[in-house]
């Protein structure tokens, strides 16, 4: 039985928007109204249910991701765990020393130098002066700020600021580390080092709870994740499944809100983009598919005039990157001569061999004769791809393993055959030395 370090049982929290009275004047006015006996109707501050009956526990050395849309209650959950706010109902227990990185460099003082802030922030996160002193070199080296240690942090760039903040928290050696959406700062190299550091902490027995909108990042650190939606637990399981669940929920929400997005990116009034949907062979309008599975993209739009040489381009990209896929009818030598009116262009793709994650598509439409761009939509058509957790990297390509036994290269560990004369060595394993 693994030991439980964090327990969050049936926790609920409500917030009243606009806490209480904002000034004494309001308080006095409210008091007067009470005395006069008039109820102020319609002026009640609305209540937000930030968390409702949220229930989970985390074992020692486990890394838990918390994902969910904005306002789902992720940060509230972390703040309750950290003890910053108290739940209305439910029980919370944390067993051991906890460090919370809810905002990078909270408590930094601009007038103090980097070194002074390391000591101050270390104390804020619960370290003694001697402890900080021992770890100072590691902290500074990790942040890569050796040269700027005696510069006031107000002269730091925001990246330097963030690096120092994360570095301090990563060296507290807590039993439980809470990290809230802080890794979106810093450059790519530093982000990778942060993830390495988090993985290292988890290997060494730290319990990690990570809130992130960067699902790839979350998945590379956490095996397990929960999905919060409107303050309720929507899912608890492996991080791959959690991401898939979240994506599907997000896409549904997206679909229901699509009417609000009036700007389709139409540049010319000659075209009105209606939709870009996906057909997986069974039904239209899917937002989720498996990596490598055949899928058809369907672009629908209306032309106000005939375009004899229409060029359509579909692009796909991941959340933060350049285009991964760009398919252009013009480059493919396909001539589309379109009449005015409704158009439906289909693009069949035998499979998208990319790693699981959330991808976005856009649609571009040209008039091939004049070169005029008629429409360039935002990347707002989502497609989630599930690779079953097989791939890391960018691609998820078809592959097959086979082991070809060979005298020269296979080195399967040798059984302890020196006891007794009965040799268990099979043929082909006599020689461990490479032979040419």
């Amino acid at each position: 039985m693994a030991d439980e370090v964090v327990r969050f049982s049936r926790v609920s929290k409500r917030f009243r928007l606009g806490a209480g009275h904002d000034s004494l004047r309001d308080l006095l006015a409210a008091g007067m109204r009470k005395i006069v006996g008039r109820r102020s109707r319609g002026r009640r501050k609305p209540i937000i249910r930030a968390l409702t009956d949220v229930d989970f526990s985390v074992d020692r050395g486990e890394a838990l991701g918390i994902i969910g849309p904005n306002g789902a209650g992720k940060s509230t959950a972390l703040k309750i765990l950290a003890g910053i706010i108290r739940p209305d109902y439910g029980e919370v227990s944390v067993n051991g020393r906890l460090a919370a990185l809810i905002e990078v460099g909270a408590g930094f003082h601009g007038d103090l130098t980097g070194r002074e802030n390391v000591y101050l922030n270390g104390a804020i996160l619960g370290m003694t002066r001697a402890e900080v002193g021992r770890k100072l070199d590691d902290i500074v080296a990790f942040a890569g700020l050796e040269k700027f240690l005696d510069t006031p942090v107000k002269r730091y760039s925001s990246g330097m600021y963030a690096r120092l903040g994360f570095s301090i928290a990563a060296h507290v050696d807590p039993d439980v580390l809470l990290v809230d959406e802080v890794l979106s700062v810093g450059d790519a190299v530093f982000r990778l080092r942060c993830m390495d550091r988090m993985n290292e902490l988890v290997r060494n027995g730290t319990t990690l709870i990570l809130v992130s909108h960067n699902l790839d990042q979350m998945q590379s650190v956490c095996r397990r994740a929960i999905v919060l939606d409107h303050g309720r637990m929507a899912f608890d399981g492996s991080s791959q499944d959690a991401v898939a669940h979240y994506m599907q929920a997000m896409s549904k929400t997206y679909m229901s809100h699509r009417g609000d997005l009036s700007d389709g990116g139409e540049i010319s009034s000659d075209v009105e983009l209606e939709s870009l949907t996906f057909h997986d062979g069974k039904r239209e309008g899917v937002v989720w598919t498996r990596s490598g599975k055949a899928i058809t993209a369907i672009a629908k739009f209306t032309l106000a005039r005939p375009v004899p040489k229409l060029v359509v381009e579909l692009n796909m990209r991941a959340m933060v990157s350049e285009n991964l896929v760009s398919i252009n009818s013009g480059r493919d030598g396909v001539t589309i001569s379109a009449m005015a009116g409704e158009q439906e262009i289909q693009l069949a793709i035998p499979g998208l061999p990319v790693r699981g994650g959330q991808y976005f598509w856009n649609v571009r439409v040209w008039d091939g004769d004049s070169g005029e761009i008629l429409c360039d939509s935002p990347f707002r058509y989502p497609l989630c791809i599930d690779d079953g957790g097989r791939a890391t990297g960018i691609l998820c390509i078809d592959h097959e393993w086979s082991v070809v036994r060979s005298k020269s290269t296979v080195s399967i560990p040798k059984p302890h055959s020196d006891v007794g004369g009965d040799s268990k060595i099979r043929e082909g394993e006599h020689e461990n030395m490479p032979v040419r």
Binding site: R10, F15, A19, G20, H21, S23, L24, R25, L27, K79, A82, G83, I84, I85, R86, P87, D88, Y89, G90, E91, V92, S93, V94, L98, A100, I102, E103, A106, G107, H109, D111, L112, E116, Y119, L120, A123, I124, L125, G126, M127, T128, R129
Partner: protein
């Protein structure tokens, strides 16, 4: 089901002791930041009460003739300085406390530790300035002794000074917690406290002695615990005798009551700070 939190958020009155490192760090930060980017630095701890002493000495001995000053039976500069040093400690610490939670909003909403640490560190950093200014008082005493304006005797009542400081500290922490907390909910408190502190200075025998003519006004003013407190400093430092028991006992009891009620109320409200700030 009531909310139960069995981690640090639900701990005892003495929780802050575990965070004493933080208390020292924040105190050190306050001092460090106060005198950073200033030419004179820590010298301001001396210059502030010293310049105020000069201002009041000029006002009350040259510019206007206040009849109440007749009651001062020591060099006025000495009277003013012995009043101003503890007063500066009180008023600066108190105003620091009033602001402390709001000024550290970032920490209150982003990090957990016992919130008592904020007002405590304000008083602690005020104490550092107070100690420096007290050292100057010694120099001032030597000066007046040399010029023959006042004959000082080294008297065992000096040993009582730490007790007076203690009482003052309790009173300041208690008031500071009450007002700091109130300011978190209603920012008006800071403005009111600013005016209140200004007024309090003139009715606490800091630069003008309070009347002792038995009038109603004198009676009301004598309810102010700061009067016997500041008087006690002068008794021990200048006159060389222990303060009158009745007045000092009254100040001490008031200080303890304010301290305990301030601390208890602060603790009980502290878990709401992050939401209400």
């Amino acid at each position: 089901m009531r909310a139960q939190v069995t981690n640090h958020a639900d701990s005892s009155m003495f929780d802050w002791l575990r965070y004493r490192h933080l208390l020292w760090s924040l105190t050190w930060r306050d001092i460090r930041v106060r005198y950073k980017q200033s030419l004179l630095g820590v010298a301001w701890a001396i210059l502030l009460p010293l310049s105020m002493m000069l201002v009041f000495t000029f006002v009350f001995t040259r510019a206007v003739q206040a009849s109440s000053l007749m009651a001062v039976d020591m060099p006025y500069a000495l009277f003013a300085y012995t009043g101003l040093v503890p007063w500066t400690f009180f008023s600066m610490s108190l105003m620091g406390c009033v602001n402390s939670l709001v000024a550290n909003r970032n920490l209150v909403t982003k990090v957990y530790f016992p919130r008592e640490v904020f007002p405590l560190s304000c008083v602690a950093s005020g104490f550092v300035d107070f100690s420096i200014a007290m050292a100057v008082l010694v120099a001032l005493m030597v000066y007046f002794h040399m010029t023959g304006d006042w004959a000082f005797v080294i008297h065992p009542s000096l040993l009582f000074v730490p007790v007076i400081v203690m009482v003052q500290v309790l009173l300041t922490i208690g008031l500071g917690m009450l007002l700091g907390m109130a300011n978190l909910f209603y920012r008006d408190v800071r403005q009111i406290a600013g005016v209140g502190v200004q007024l309090l200075m003139f009715v606490s025998a800091v630069v003008v002695p309070i009347p002792k003519d038995g009038s109603t006004l004198a009676l009301i003013l004598s309810l102010n615990p700061l009067v016997p407190l500041i008087g006690a400093y002068r008794d021990c430092l200048i006159y060389g005798h222990l303060p009158a028991t009745g007045g000092f006992l009254y100040a001490s009891v008031t200080a303890v009551i304010v301290f305990v009620s301030g601390w208890v109320l602060f603790r009980r409200a502290s878990y709401r700070f992050a939401e209400c700030i």
